[in-house]
Each structure stands twice: as C-alpha cells, then as structure tokens.
C-alpha cells in the first residue's frame, strides 16, 4: 500500500474514531501501528468527536455530516481529479469514499497536493494564466511555469511567484532569471512574462500584473492606489474630458474613452516599473523613458517603451509606488503586491478558475465573500502547518481550502439531497474536522 494512503487512512481513522475491517487489513500490511477495530457500514460516516478535532480545535462538520453522500463525493472528486492530479480516482481513493463517504474528500485532496502530478497542474495553471510556455529564438518561455511547479513541489509560498530572487530551469534547479536586470522578482523578471505582455507605455505588463496578482483592474479604488499627480504625467494622460485633451493623436480618445487620467493616473505608477525592460524582455540600464519622435506613441528608443512621466529625470527611473508605498524597483513593488489586501483571495480565484475550467470572465463573477473566506482559511492552514514560517499560503494550502469548501461543492455538484441533508453554517470549513492536516 502506498505510504500516502496509510497516512490518509490514519487521518480519517483518528478523526472519525472508527475503522473498517477491510481497511485495517490493508493497513496491517504497511507500517502503521495504529490499532483500530471499530467497524463501519459501507457508505456511512462516523462523526468525529462532537466538540473537538484531533488538535483540540473546535470541530466543524464534515462534508458527510452536511449531507453529501459517497456518490456525491465520488462525483465531485472525479470532476476535479483530472485537473488537480492529472488522473482519475484510483482504487484506494474509491475504497476510502466507499467506506467513509464524503468525509474522505478532505484527506484525499490533502494527499493530492503532495503528489508530483500536482506540481505539473500548477505549472499548467500559471502557464495559461501568464500565457507563457515553450521556447522561441533562444528565450525560455517555460521559466514562469518552472517556478510555479518548483514552489508547488517544495511547498513554498505562492507569493514567491513574485518575490523569488531566482528562476528555475527545466530540471527544477534554481538559476538566475534571464532579463539581465540587477535584481529578480519571480515571474515578473522573466523574458517570458515581459515578452508575452509587451505593449506601448508598458500598459499590458502593468495590467496583467495587477489583474493576475491583485485581481485589480483600472481604474481601481483610489484608496488602494492613489493617482499620480496629474502634473507629473505627459500631457495626453492628464485629460479627464475630451475638452482637456491637448494632444492631437489622442483627441479621439482610446481605451477608456477621453477620461485618460482616471486610468493612467494609476497605470503610470505600475507601468513605470517596467520602463527599463525592452520588448524582448531584456533590461537596459540606459533606458530614457522618453518618446521616440520617429516612432508611434508609447515607444521609446531601443525597443523600450515610453514612460508616463513627463520629466526627463523621472522618466528613466524605476522608482515609483505601489498601493501608496514608495518602491525603488519591481522587487519592492512585488513585495508590496504580495502583501496587498487581495493577494491571497486573488490567488484563490486563480485556483478556482483553473480547477473548474472557467474563463477569466466567468471567474470575475465568483463571489468575493467566498474568496475572502478562502484567503482567511488558507492563511490559517499555513499558520497551522508552518507556525514558524514568515511566508504565506502555498499552492497546496490554496487548493485544499478551495476544493474542500462546502460552498464550492455546492456550486459544483449542488446541494446534498435526502431527508437527512441537514446542512450547517455554509461558511464552515471542513479541514479542522480532521485535525491539523
């Protein structure tokens, strides 16, 4: 028997206080020394201790108690397994569901995030999210996916997607990133990200960074991201109405219409961080940030992009601000972003989007209260598992809390059926019913 299943069985057994003879027989072939003799009818679930889980924390109802049947559990896990671990349920998982019903969902998902295939799923998640995979003209577009898989495989914080001061090669070995910049900020300082999002004024680089990691779109809340003083911007971005536009090329407005300043007052702060990265993703110490008079709007010289800032002194600098905090480079900005108010809930949205094959448009409609709850639970799980860590939730934390949340099950397979489908507080998490995972 696979050791992970022994752990899984022991977790269930300890939390439910019961065990089935058949499973005990299987377990006896392994190394476990747990003695469990209570029998259980197939498909029925025993309640954990009424008051506490195995860690002494207040127990919360398991999914079985919420009314989900073994068939519900099998249906749900069969839906998500291919995306999370690239396979169908195996015989041992089927056995667990048969014996423990929906109570098996949490330990099965917890076991999944330790499998090698999980890291490959995380790779796919980030490849699609960042539109980066493959190789071309000597540029390794696999670097973002490699880093994501590395973090998942090694249970490193999700935030290191932005804060890692290294990249990772195809063999999983840390290497310097490939932009030539004198600093590194995870996926943001890969040529893959920078080339995939290259655009005039560095708008797309800023927009995707904020959308993927802060779930923020322009214009965003002024309290979160105060606008840069209008006078610091080049004239075309100062306009708030068509009448205020003084630049002929922008007279007809574009993007958000004539109200340029509403978005670019914020874009300016974030786009500035990329001012020294050329369209090929390489870093240039000698970037000017100034418009190339021979080129289209938004393009500077040497394949670089124009700064929003009007001052020739400010335009080439990477100094800017993120969420009203001064930052000197992308490294600082990434740190602020990774500790921002919506960073973890946004990560949860990315996980749900991937796990259920949603489009970004569909994912925008995920209830914010659920995402906020998932963020709280992911952080709590991280603290429970890594009390000495100063990091933040891992991919594993995010997947476990997201895919075992009762309201996620509700959205995927519906409400439990049957007369005894007594459902408790829908915001309750299930993990504590099994103790510290």
């Amino acid at each position: 028997m696979n050791p992970r299943h022994l752990v899984l069985l022991a977790t269930i057994a300890l939390s439910t206080g019961c065990y089935d003879g058949a499973l005990a027989e299987q377990a006896s072939t392994g190394t476990t020394t747990t003695t469990i003799s209570t029998t259980l009818e197939p498909g029925t679930t025993a309640s954990p201790d009424e008051s506490t889980g195995t860690t002494g924390e207040p127990a919360e109802p398991g999914l079985g108690e919420l009314g989900y049947s073994p068939e519900d559990a099998r249906e749900y896990l069969a839906i998500i397994a291919p995306l999370v671990v690239g396979r169908l349920l195996d015989a041992e998982e089927d056995n667990l569901i048969y014996h423990f019903g929906a109570e098996a969902i949490v330990p099965i998902v917890e076991a999944w995030v330790t499998e090698p295939a999980f890291a490959e799923s995380v790779r796919m998640l980030m490849q699609v999210k960042l539109a980066a995979s493959g190789n071309k003209d000597g540029v390794d577009f696999e670097l973002p996916g490699n880093l994501a898989a590395h973090l998942a495989r090694n249970d490193r914080p999700y935030s290191e997607l932005l804060t890692a001061d290294y990249c990772v090669d195809g063999a999983g070995t840390p290497i310097p990133c490939d932009t030539g910049a004198p600093y590194q900020a995870g996926v943001l300082t890969t040529r893959a990200y920078l080339m995939a999002t290259a655009s005039r004024f560095n708008l797309r680089r800023a927009r995707r960074m904020m959308f993927i990691f802060a779930c923020a779109t322009y214009p965003m809340d002024e309290l979160l991201q105060p606008r840069i003083n209008k006078d610091y911007l080049i004239p075309m971005f100062r306009a708030e109405t068509a009448d205020e536009q003084t630049v002929p090329e922008a007279a007809n407005g574009f993007g958000n219409g004539a109200a340029c300043y509403s978005c670019h007052g914020q874009f300016s702060a974030h786009a500035q961080l990329f001012v020294r990265f050329a369209q090929d993703g390489l870093w240039h110490a000698d970037a000017t940030g100034l418009q190339d008079p021979e080129n289209e709007l938004g393009r500077s010289t040497n394949g670089l992009y124009t700064s929003h800032f009007v001052s020739p002194l400010a335009a080439p600098q990477e100094i800017s601000q993120m969420f009203n905090e001064p930052v000197s480079t992308l490294v600082d900005a990434a740190r602020v972003l990774a500790t921002g108010p919506k960073f973890t809930s946004c990560a949860a949205r990315n996980v749900l989007e991937y796990s259920f094959g949603m489009s970004e448009t569909e994912a925008l409609l995920i209830e914010q209260a659920l995402l906020d709850d998932l963020a709280v639970r992911a952080e709590a799980r991280d603290q429970r598992l890594r009390p000495d860590s100063t990091g933040s939730p891992t991919f594993g934390d995010l997947f476990v809390v997201a895919l075992t949340h009762p309201r996620v099950l509700q959205a995927v397979i519906g409400m439990p059926l049957g007369d005894d489908a007594a459902v408790l507080d829908p915001s309750l998490s299930l993990a504590p019913a099994f103790g510290a995972p």
Binding site: L88, A369, A422
Partner: protein, 203 residues
Amino acid sequence: MLLQPRALITWTLGIALLTACGSASQPLETPASTTEPEPGSTTIIAGSSSSEDTGAEQLPDPFELGRDNVRLLPFKVRFNKLQQLTGLPAEDPAFDVLRARRYELGDYDYAGGVNPDLTWSAAKISLWISAMLPVCRAPALIARFPVFPDDLSKFLTAAYGTAPGPEQLADFESLLGDANLDEPTRHASVCAAALTALEFVAR
C-alpha cells in the same frame, strides 16, 4: 471503417444541441455557463429541517458553472488520462499521432503563438478518433483489456472512473455484435469510441 456506437453519436448530437449549431463543420465551442440554477440548488439549509425553522442565512451558489453544460478537458489532461489508462509513458509510439497533432487537438505553445483551444468540432472528433486507434492497438492496452465484451466493463470503469450502467454497456454491445468486423477491428473500434465519448474527453 470505424463504427460509432450510440454513446458517441448521442454525445455529438448533444454537443450540437447544446450549442444550437447548424453546421457540423463549424467549430463547436463548449458552452459557457448560462443555465439558471436548478430549483433548490441555490439554498443552503441550516439546522435540522429548513432555514425557515432556524432563520439561518440562505446563500446562493458562490459561482456559476452551468452544471448541465459540457466542458472539454484541456489537452494535457486528456493526454494524462490516456497515459494512466494504458500505463505507457508520453513518448510511447502509441501516442505518436496524438503528439504530432496535439495543437490541432487543443494543446498550447504560447511561444509558438498557439493558444489553448477548448472547442470541439466534427473535424476534431475525427482527428481524435484517429489518434485513439494506435492507443487502442497498443499491446499494453490490449494486455490489460484483452477481450470485449468480457473486459468492457473493466475498461470503461478504468477510462471513466465510474462503473458503466446497463445503457452504456448496451451502446457498445451493438457495436460488438457487428459480424462484419473482425475481432481486432471490433476491439479497436469499441476502444476508440469509448475514448472519444463525453465521459472521457469532457466533464
């Protein structure tokens, strides 16, 4: 000639109906979630009997998936499932066609300008079937499921993750009963049809 059992036909028709697409040659995009929540599906019942009894909060689904809609699995996920089913590595010759035509079947290579494609069309179904035939003829798969119908139920269970119902088995038995096919062709046909069915390629 490869025959299509009812499961495959039903699935193809189902996709067409779902998308209300008039032309089989047009790509069929797997539908986004548009269905209304089913009655009762948006209510969390708190307490022992009903929310009215307890006054507990009733919450809607936190997101819409359109549970009745079909979503094609990403190519890599479908490929992973095939590797699991056959026990063969990705580079095995049985997957030569699949690997060679993977971008036509939805895989992505952003550096090469190929985005993931989760649409499914008659042309893609046909291509997928042609990629499944070498998989179905692979000695590893035949060794695991040598005889149909004897091993059909076991094969479908392994492929779909759930034991097939009587109707599902009946779909394939009509194909198995076709006297015009020799045994290897019948085996490959049933296998390819099963691996092209909704239960395998979508969720």
